[in-house]
């Protein structure tokens, strides 16, 4: 692997890790605030899973860059984060978080199936491992999409509002970054753009069955993973505060 290829791969691992980590953090904000006890437990578990997946991607990146996982997570400024804006949007109601997780779960399953065929073995192995765990996420969030979409007028209206907000943002997941193009050429990872059709087919079929209307706006507010909303700054300020205040702490 030449230096150009290696640096593209390290950056791709950052995309994967940052999406999972920031979504995990947002979901963890529901801990103790879930609408019912079972869902409080379920969403906390899903957050913990995604955090574990972020750590898995970061460990692969560490093998390439040498940067410690905790350093990358707690001592990197918002401008250096490479997550999509979808995951950094602040929570509002339960429908908002559930629908976001559903859209992300479908993306992950479609994406991981392809990454599991990567020519870079550590990436393929991690994708295969994570994919198995994700089965439980999609089962859960897909059921809630149906339940809330077909529930009451209010639950349907809240899900529709969530879908209207998330749909364009979710499309950023499929924007090809320059690193994606390098990796696709080398057979290391598929371009996310190649996943869009399958993702749209799966989500459109399921959301439509849940009596939800697919928004016509498919244009994400940004196509650059370096662009963030101010919400990421406040999220990281909170997430990183303890580590930055006590940089030598061990736990």
């Amino acid at each position: 692997m030449n230096a150009h290829h290696q640096s593209a791969l390290a950056q791709k691992l950052l995309f994967l890790a940052d999406d999972e980590l920031i979504l995990a953090h947002r979901n963890s904000e529901w801990t103790g605030h879930g609408p019912i006890l079972e869902e409080d437990i379920a969403f906390t578990n899903i957050a913990l899973d995604e955090m574990g997946h972020a750590a898995t991607w970061h460990r692969l990146r560490q093998e390439l860059t040498g940067e410690e996982v905790d350093t990358a997570v707690f001592f990197r400024d918002p401008a250096a984060y490479r997550n999509v804006q979808l995951v950094e949007l602040p929570n509002s109601d339960w429908a908002f978080s559930m629908l976001r997780q559903y859209l992300f779960d479908v993306y992950e399953l479609v994406h991981l199936a392809q990454l599991a065929a990567s020519s870079y073995r550590p990436l393929a192995e991690a994708a295969a491992k994570i994919r198995i765990e994700e089965i439980y996420h999609l089962r859960h969030t897909a059921a809630w999409v149906t339940r809330l979409g077909l529930g009451t007028a209010e639950s349907n209206q809240r899900m529709q509002a969530a879908l209207d907000t998330h749909w364009p943002y979710a499309h950023q997941l499929f924007v090809e970054m320059p690193e994606d193009a390098v990796l696709a050429e080398m057979g290391t990872a598929v371009s996310p753009t190649s996943l869009l059709d399958e993702w749209q087919q799966i989500t459109t079929a399921h959301l439509t069955q849940a009596n939800l209307i697919i928004p016509t706006n498919h244009t994400p507010p940004t196509t650059d993973r370096a662009d963030h909303t101010d919400h990421l700054t406040s999220l990281l300020a909170e997430m990183q505060s303890v580590a930055r205040q006590y940089p030598t702490a061990v736990w």
Binding site: A42, G52, T56, P122, K129, E133, Y136, H140
Partner: protein, 160 residues
Amino acid sequence: MITTTHIWQALEEVKDPELPHVSVVEMGIVRDVQLEADRVHVKMTPTFSGCPALDVMRHDIAAKVRELGFTQVTVETVLHPPWTSDWIADSARDKLQQLGIAPPIRHGGNLIPIAFLDVATCPRCGSSNTILKNAFGPTLCKSLWYCHECQDGFEQFKAL
């Protein structure tokens, strides 16, 4: 002269912190033990990637090998082949049952039908007149069930 067999035996004493009495060997977490001169290399694999007990187990495995007198001990985390609940030994399944946790159903590599089947046998009374209350439980590896016969809840170790 200590052999790898002794090291495997010692590792039987390292327990999963979230499942007291069940060892990391019975859980299928320890995949390989290599002994070369005075160096020991242990390969372990995570059950659920986000399991907070993994670091504790990694630490406990290294500490246990050091207790045998080895100073050069490395514990490597491997992801391939991915851990499956099918690797949980029969001895561990019995212990789970005694702890009131229904053991996972063996799926032989075909997880999806099992993950959606929603069948569990009550570890107390053996009834299958049970219902899934929550696919997520107190730890990543457990789901929550209710037994209509006992009229009480129980946990099941999730198939993976």
